[in-house]
Symmetry: C2
Subunit: 335 residues, 2 copies
């Protein structure tokens, strides 16, 4: 066990004061180069690293940020984390991860546990943008906070999102161009701006093309997998849509399962289009048209925004950042 070496020991060994060592380590202008070198050499030799708890306590800075999101085991979020971590590393920061599992209360409880100075800033993708509006409104005044993908709007802090409305409109138009006339919508993220925007884009494209959609053609997401499957089966059975627009990845498996059980051929009998960040899904299954969000870039951008706040730069920048999604069509299947 390499005994933990601290400033005191360095000072003792070098016959100088603790204060001098501290200043030398921090490259203070007050210290002669000669002394600095002696300190640095010994520090390296003894493998000295400052005790983070002590320096946090003193400086009120932790070089740590927290990421709060629904679930890491999700292609979108894990890519986002990757993007965040890259920037954090660049700044020498540490990254804490918390999963809310879509539980708003847990979300708040995590954040509250971070407000005592455990982190310098927070990145979050919220579970719902309705349940805790007032809480967040207060929060952004207390701690550097950046929202990504799942945001509260109208809050005075950075928000990194994607062009959900636009890409949904575009994708829906594409389905219609492919000849679909009876489109069904699988509705996810209902109480989030992203979910609403996706639906609006879909709806507006439907309207613009002179089509209509009744409530029977809309399946709302349920936490229960079986429920989703059942609802989709009922939809397919009773209303025979010729396309499924899936607004979240979680609907893909039940959609395929339902089609299989009902012996519907994809994409001949029915076309499926989904928001999805599964790189392999695109390739493995040629029948799924996808909308892919730039997950890595979203994380990256969000982290950059947080460091803007932490370093007091870009105060006047536009705080609403919108990145572009990509619609990946299926030429091979005529769609």
């Amino acid at each position: 066990m390499s005994e933990k070496v601290n400033i005191k020991q360095l000072a003792l060994e070098l016959n100088i004061s603790i204060a001098t060592v501290s200043k030398a380590l921090n490259d203070s202008y007050e210290i002669s180069l000669k002394t600095k070198n002696r300190v640095w050499d010994l520090a390296k030799q003894l493998n000295y690293t400052p005790n983070p708890a002590a320096s946090n306590l003193r400086s009120n800075k932790t070089k740590t940020i927290a990421v709060i999101l629904p679930c890491v085991a999700n292609n979108f979020f894990s890519l986002a984390i990757k993007g965040i971590e890259e920037i954090a590393r660049k700044y020498g920061f540490h990254v804490l991860i918390y999963q809310t599992h879509e539980d708003c209360e847990m979300e708040i409880s995590f954040i509250n546990s971070l407000l005592n100075g455990r982190v310098d800033g927070i990145l979050t993708s919220v579970s719902s943008s309705e349940d805790n509006a007032d809480y967040y409104e207060n929060l952004v005044k207390k701690v550097p906070l950046v929202f990504f993908d799942r945001v509260y709007e109208n809050l005075d802090t950075f928000k990194v999102t994607t062009d959900d409305y636009h890409i949904s409109y575009q994708a829906t138009s594409h389905l219609i161009e492919c000849g679909c006339k009876k489109l069904a919508y699988l509705y996810g993220l209902e109480n989030l701006p992203a979910g609403k925007a996706r639906f609006s884009g879909f709806k507006d494209a439907i309207d613009a093309n002179g089509l209509t959609i009744s409530d029977d053609f809309i399946v709302k997401y349920s936490d229960d997998e079986n429920t989703n499957l059942e609802h989709i089966k009922v939809l397919l059975n009773h209303h025979k849509p010729d396309a499924l627009f899936s607004s979240i990845e979680e609907f893909v498996i039940p959609s395929y399962t339902a089609c299989k059980e009902l012996r519907l051929e994809i994409p001949k009998d029915i076309k499926i289009l989904s928001f999805s960040n599964l790189a392999t899904a695109k390739l493995l299954n040629p029948s799924l048209t996808t909308i892919t969000q730039p997950a890595f870039e979203i994380g990256n951008e969000a982290a950059k925004c947080l460091f803007k706040i932490l370093t007091k730069r870009g105060i006047d920048d536009d705080k609403s950042i919108i990145l572009k999604s990509e619609l990946i069509k299926r030429a091979s299947t005529g769609c």
Copy 2:
């Protein structure tokens, strides 16, 4: 901004000493219930939470663990993180994440940056089990450390792995039973026990069935995507294997791409089997036989082991924990 409230203020307000407040907050047996209640009430009212830096400094405990792994944007690792986080939460611990991107030097540099007391323990899935054997041998004496999935063997600490040899043997036998005779192997994780075990299992099954495999039928993983694709194309073109055994998920896309470019039909012309944790891949593509590792459980188990160390329990338990993978066959395609 709710001014940060500390123990001193609680003491002042309640007209008791700082020490009493501290003890009350920690539910010490020395303090009367009446006093405790007064303290707890006020603490809640003022939204008091202890300053972690201060208590870390004093107690030398951080209630934080670190997870070091190659990459979070990978189904296996993100599920493992989920498993880890679940246990950490149960203990009220925080989780730091670091990605090595398979860089052994970075791996060490991360770990070194954690040895000054920033964390109470470390969970890691290493990049290579050869480059830093002596380093790790030393390390496990200094800090509570648990390996998961990618391990150094022969080290005196907990290691959570899967039955790579066995499942590879079984999967290979399955391919042979399906009629494959010219099997090719896509070799990943070459300098890790897991990779070696997978290959051994494959090789032994080949031998046991009276088949052989030449070096021409082995493609070793390269960081460069195109190289992998090219190598697989050469393999398919020149040697016409009737099955590809892919030891890592990263080979799946190039395999499918290569088959597509060479107009090989899967699974008619060639069967593909791969280690993979992509839940959707299983469903979306009926032609891919998969070996799935219990990623979540691995993370879960590894975290449990770490807490065993931290709480000094189970010192005498078997330190080598092996979980079972699952071979998911494709009845629909006769394989």
